[in-house]
């Protein structure tokens, strides 16, 4: 009987050893989270964010991963809403134990996720959202951004508009965190430069018919129509402005994430002449952008766009982990500060220590034949502004229209 029992035990141990052996020999894994819009108004940005992360992870894993760990990506859809974004961020951090969270796309959702990454001490990179609160009142030590925020964009755009396009401007924005922030900062910057805001209006995110707002715009008779929209909202808005003859009537300008390059050919006619601030374009002759775009195109068969910042975010994090020789969030966060990388999608980029904002040059592009053609370069140091961590960036701001005689 004892012999039988011993045989059973030995067989079981042997079987377990066989089963467990591959697990022991497998390399260690570190997980990172890709949280973004997989459906809805910002779906395009979420898709390219994932591609950027994927490409960076493939490059890093080909060189042995980070700190000897193979990197694994876990992707989640935030439905472009704060509540699901928070839920998914908590799932990625608490259940999946991700050491880096990249995302999300919508500014409102990003700010909500920032509370989660602060609470759970998780390195958080944002490469698309641009509301001004993220490097001011909502800022925390684990948060980093390589997307120019509203203040940077406004500083870059307002001067060009006042100098080259016209001083009477109507601000039309998408009425949630991003649009409000862009509208506010642009109004402030424009008025400082002597421009006149002749009207402001906000339309809800994902508006289907913008025509009810057109009467007020026409009544204000601006020279320039400044548009702070993104994603499918921008496509729809431009189609409708064009059908009402307003793309020919006014000069048009818009923010960084107004439209992805991929969307331009399908809307080339309404977009002709549109001035858009962007930090990246596949049509920019800049060597770094061309080199990155060639690499991206080889991997995915399509041009890259502004969402390529997610690629750099992963590389920055991996470099910081190697520098800290640890995944400890405090040490990794400190290792990030002041770090510079040469081979990003737009060349050299450095992380400012005070507010963890990447100092990046931006470009103004004009749409010609469905392509973003560069017309001016704005140095990152000129547009970034002073650090405002903990300070209210909208203190004293008013939407009131100051009439000029």
């Amino acid at each position: 009987m004892k012999r039988i029992a011993s045989a059973v035990v030995l067989t079981t141990v042997a079987a377990l050893a066989v089963v467990a052996a591959p697990a022991v020999s497998q390399p260690k894994v570190v997980k990172i989270g890709d949280l973004g819009s997989k459906v809805g108004v910002f779906e395009g940005y979420g898709k390219y964010q994932t591609m950027g992360i994927q490409m960076a992870v493939e490059e890093l894993n080909a060189k042995g991963g980070v700190l000897g760990h193979r990197i694994e990506i876990l992707s989640e859809d935030d439905e472009t809403k704060p509540a699901p974004a928070v839920r998914k961020a908590e799932k990625l951090i608490l259940q999946d134990d991700v050491k880096l969270l990249v995302g999300v796309v919508s500014s409102g959702a990003t700010m909500a996720v920032m509370d989660v990454t602060k609470k759970h001490k998780t390195i958080h990179w944002n490469s698309v959202s641009c509301a001004e609160f993220m490097r001011t009142t909502k800022f925390h030590k684990y948060y980093f951004s390589n997307q120019p925020d509203s203040r940077m964009q406004a500083n870059g755009l307002a001067k060009y508009i006042v100098d080259k396009m016209g001083k009477r401007v109507y601000i039309f924005y998408t009425d949630y965190a991003m649009g409000q922030s862009d509208g506010r900062q642009f109004k402030t910057a424009l008025e400082k430069l002597g421009g006149e805001v002749v009207g402001v209006a906000g339309a809800p995110l994902d508006t289907k018919d913008f025509s009810p707002w057109f009467g007020a715009i026409n009544q204000a008779a601006p020279e320039v129509l400044f548009l702070a929209f993104a994603g499918t909202d921008s496509l729809r808005l431009m189609t409708q402005l064009h059908s009402f003859g307003m793309t020919r009537k006014y000069k048009l300008a818009g923010i960084d994430c107004f439209l992805l390059q991929q969307d331009l050919p399908s809307i080339a006619e309404p977009m002709e002449g549109f001035v858009q601030l962007n930090h990246f374009s596949a049509y920019n002759p800049d060597k770094s952008m061309q080199a990155f775009n060639a690499k991206f195109r080889k991997r995915f068969g399509v041009d890259a766009n502004i969402a390529a910042g997610a690629y750099d975010a992963v590389h920055f994090w991996a470099a910081a982990v190697e520098k800290a020789a640890s995944f400890d969030p405090d040490r990794v966060a400190e290792a990030h500060e002041g770090m510079c990388r040469e081979e990003t999608h737009i060349g050299r980029q450095c992380i400012r220590k005070e507010d963890h904002q990447v100092v990046m040059d931006m470009h103004l592009y004009q749409v010609k034949g469905g392509k973003n053609i560069p017309i001016a370069r704005i140095a990152g140091t000129d547009s970034i502004g002073e650090p405002m961590v903990g300070r209210d960036p909208v203190e004293g701001f008013s939407w009131e229209i100051k009439k000029k005689n």
Binding site: K38, V39, G40, E43, G44, K47, D175, A201, G202, A203, P204, D206, K208, D209, P212, W213, F214, G215, N218, T232, L235, R236, T239, Q240, S243, F244, G245, M246, D263, S266, I267
Partner: protein
Amino acid sequence: MIFGLLGVMNFAHGELYMLGAYAGIAVIGVTHSFWVALIAAPLLVAALGAVTEVATLRPLYRREPLYGLILTFGLALVFREGARQIWGGDMRRVLPPVTGSTPLLGMTYPNYRLFLLGASSALLLLIWLFFTRTRAGVLVRAAVQDAEMLDGLGVNVPRLFTLTFAGSAALAALAGLLLAPVFTVYPQMGVEMILLAFIVVILGGMGSMGGSVVAALVIGTAQSLFSLWMNPQRVAIAIFAIMIVVLIVRPRGFFGREGVLE
């Protein structure tokens, strides 16, 4: 009509509207003609509607209305996600077949929107003629009144149900394609339209076509007029306020028949 005839609140109607737009894009891709698509896309979606009715709705007719509601809700998810799998989630644009704009009452108005005005009026007239002047239309109305009696008189009621469902799918598809150049095309487009459609139907009175027309006119006019006086964002609140007031005063809507919802 679907609710009156089949006793099913069709939550997948928005997705048939969306599929019409996508089918239109597919047909335009092959024929390069919006006008051909305007005929072919509704026929394609009507065929899908007929298959759906036979395969999924028919077995549920004798059950509680809740079954139909849950089924069509599920169908909506299947159609929407199916469209996303086939065509992707990116927004697509359909070029308007009628371009240019016309000066109208001090503003520039797109010619395509004027065309839509005419097309939808003509379509309404055709539907009204169908229900009042054709044998098929009279049979559908009779089935709404008493399907069992019609069955007893030798009419093939199941086939009538299938054809009615297919017809409503075709109309939804036609609307989807007609509105595609204005609102663009994406998998979620049906969800957003269905809410407004339900407001119109409830306000007009369940089962009343004339009521729906009146309700649509009331809502459209209110939307436009309120936009002149208030931020267009707040107009949605005004629309719901109108609906609440009408439902308090007339719980069955403008022209709702007694017993439809009870």
